[in-house]
Symmetry: C2
Subunit: 455 residues, 2 copies
């Protein structure tokens, strides 16, 4: 055992669960702290989720918006990255239990495992209306979107062809707005000359939102600008619309007293999130209180009541000590919380304390199609091209900070000039089937229950 | 029906099966011919297979080396792309039968469906030693290679750790040489600082070749240069080595009279190819003769004996009318054959004939690691950096011709400067599982029989 190791062995051990914005910023901020850090994630990469819709719509490749955690943290000599999944904790013994291997002792635990989709009690919808949280989700969406045009090209029945060219996005938050905008551009620009039997510009894109306007957390002017921009792209925006049933390539929805059903082959879910599994683990083991979405209610310093050494940050945390509602589940909040907890832990090693967590909100943004956006900075609001430029620089700034993703900028510039979508590949799960005989039972491309087994 | 359609309806119908190098060049060359063209492929993209090993080793993303067929052919007004699979043909009625939809009548049929892996009667090896033909194959290889380091990092048993850090590439042709070189560079450069419990530079990479030298079809000097370059990268090159058994993370092989077994977690297959399913279809329906690998023996004009309207080109064809052995299964041969058959068909529409197919061989090349290659042009041979520059420009030239893949060039330049591997993501088949409970039965990362079901 060399000197560094001996020194590290006696240092407090900080275990971070989750390598998203919160966990990664906590780890980064602990680089020079006198602690040993273990970052556990079930994936080997950090994902820049705000651009995931661009993978789902064929503009970017997964690797463009993902950076290996080991690369980001390779110069952090006090930090170990572990590819594993936490399945339980023992807060009294200060242990986390891992799926694959041993248990780990911690002195401080930071939980930042985020959220997953929420179907409001209708989990059976998930196959018919996939959500967008992981790289695999994005590739599945990409496959469905581009496969719909392929299937329509081959479909002789006009009614079924129309359903194949109908895209419904459920949820008018930033992800729903961005997805709908990108799909409209695929139909009206990217693929418009590529088919012989169908006219892709006849595709219908519908955006459903339950509230009375899209982008509900934004100022009203932003919502109105965004809706106008979406409608200019040919998108049918339906507010005050509640989805009541999804099945058989159809969506049933209620508007006021009226109930309608629309035939649509591609239905994408951007309507709700639920806390990840770790929320329940924390509630069971520490008695932490959860909110309706399963998020963990945290103390003013982001710790759990009665457990000053366990912190919950990012989307998984419900922080209600500032303003009149909990902080939103967005990347900047998670990043600031990660930095705050890292600082708190560092100060604690020398017996100091810090004040409670405070968040300075710099505003929000959402992009609409290729060159429009709405940006709500607290001191000013922008729409259209200027907003898009602000949006693109804010994102590039972040991407470059991590991994010099210069390529993404060039790719964007290129796509912007050529209106191209270089990544519109229809791929399946990795498969090692040898091609020996043709499949016994032909599977229709339009089948939603197609299974691929990868080995 | 407009004028163009009326005109097209009376034109001869050329059906092309397969959008690889052969089929795509045939389609491209028929752009202005007085024929109607249907290109059928089961994938929606053309894949630049010579660079597939760079996807398998995390340098490029699939979209960097794939172009949607519809985009490449969007300006070919006489051409329709059909995403489907041919399952049979009737050469007397001149029909092809499709998996998903109707049958198609043809006046001329060009079959260019290539080859798949060949395990020489040991198909059970395919799960333990995957080959490299599709995007999915490449992502599976990428997952295994990078997962091996992750699993080694967590493995306390030194023997198992050693097996996890042992990589065996079976087959010393260009693909095997390129894969082995890239894996050695991953271990010695890309990930060398990224782990805490293992030293990735201790990884062993072995390259097995049955013949007495690697790159057997190349001149002896090239083989020797390539072997020297591989050994400088730390690769253990074993010639005259026949694999006799693969199972349980181990490879058994025979060298002369001796039989040995090595424990290796990652075994990659680059040893043999077999004709795709269409070879058998053609043999059954036309009586065409197949060679030992199942390739279709063709006439001097690439047609089938007795069927002057059916042509087989590319890897699937065995063309033995030039030189003392069949033409090699490489991209330039397929491209030239595609152009030749397109020209033959065009001439035929005005009652003219063409001479037999002749191939002008300009040489071969293979790349070794990041900046070395061997290039055998007929008039000169190169190795090392100069060869690498020739190699990279030959590939870039082709990629740019199709899809302005400028990005790939920039990506390469960037990786060359930074020694980075931006695409080293470990991903699975797309999955829509909601995360509700932790998996009941923990699956070890080292398990080779792991199944993912994607919906």
């Amino acid at each position: 055992m060399n000197n560094t190791q001996t020194k590290q062995a006696s240092m407090p051990h900080v275990v971070i669960v989750g390598g998203g914005f919160g966990g990664l910023y906590a780890a980064k901020s602990l680089k020079d702290a006198p602690v040993k850090v273990t970052l556990i994630d079930k994936r080997n990469f950090h994902l820049f989720q705000p651009l995931l819709y661009q993978v789902a719509t064929g503009t970017l490749s997964p690797a463009d918006i993902a950076s290996p955690l080991r690369v980001i943290l390779s110069k952090h000599k006090n930090t170990q990255v572990l590819l594993d999944k936490v399945i339980d904790i023992d807060p009294e013994a200060k242990k986390v239990f891992l799926e694959e291997r041993e248990e780990l002792d911690y002195d401080a635990l930071i939980v930042a495992t985020g959220v997953s989709h929420h179907y409001f009690g209708n989990d059976q919808w998930q196959n018919d209306a996939p959500g967008l949280k992981t790289v695999e989700d994005a590739l599945e969406m990409r496959r469905r979107i581009f496969m719909a045009f392929e299937a329509a090209e081959k479909e002789p029945n006009p009614e079924r062809r129309k359903a194949l060219l109908t895209f419904v996005v459920v949820g008018g938050g930033p992800t729903g707005v961005e997805l709908a905008g990108a799909i409209a551009e695929i139909a009206h620009q990217s693929v418009k000359n590529d088919f012989r039997n169908i006219d892709p510009t006849q595709a219908q894109v519908l955006l459903f939102e339950g509230m009375d306007r899209i982008l509900p957390p934004y100022p009203e002017k932003c919502s109105a600008d965004a809706q106008k921009a979406l409608e200019e792209l040919g998108i049918n925006v339906q507010t005050k619309t509640l989805v009541t049933h999804i099945a058989d390539n159809s969506v049933t929805f209620r508007q006021g007293e009226e109930t309608k059903t629309i035939q649509a082959h591609t239905i994408l879910w951007a309507a709700g999130v639920r806390a990840s599994f770790m929320g329940k683990v924390l509630a069971d083991s520490t008695g932490a209180e959860l909110d309706r979405s399963g998020r963990v209610i945290v103390e003013p310093d982001l710790s759990l009541k009665g457990y000053g050494d366990i912190f919950v940050i990012g989307d998984l945390a419900n922080f209600a000590h500032q303003g009149d509602r909990p902080l939103p589940g967005v990347a900047p909040v998670a990043m600031k919380q990660g930095e705050y907890v890292a600082n708190l832990i560092t100060k604690r090693t020398v017996g100091k304390t810090v004040g409670q967590f405070k968040y300075q909100d710099f505003g929000s943004m959402a992009v609409i199609g290729q060159n429009k956006a709405v940006v709500d900075l607290n001191f000013a609001k922008f729409s259209g091209f200027v907003a898009w430029i602000i949006w693109i620089f804010a994102h590039i700034y972040y991407l470059i900070e991590f991994d010099n993703k210069l390529i993404v900028m060039i790719q964007w510039a290129w796509n912007y000039i050529t209106l191209g979508r270089g990544a519109r590949l229809i791929t399946e799960g990795s498969s090692l089937q040898l091609e020996i005989e043709p499949p016994k039972k032909p599977e229709r491309a339009t089948s939603q229950s197609k299974e691929t087994v990868s080995v």
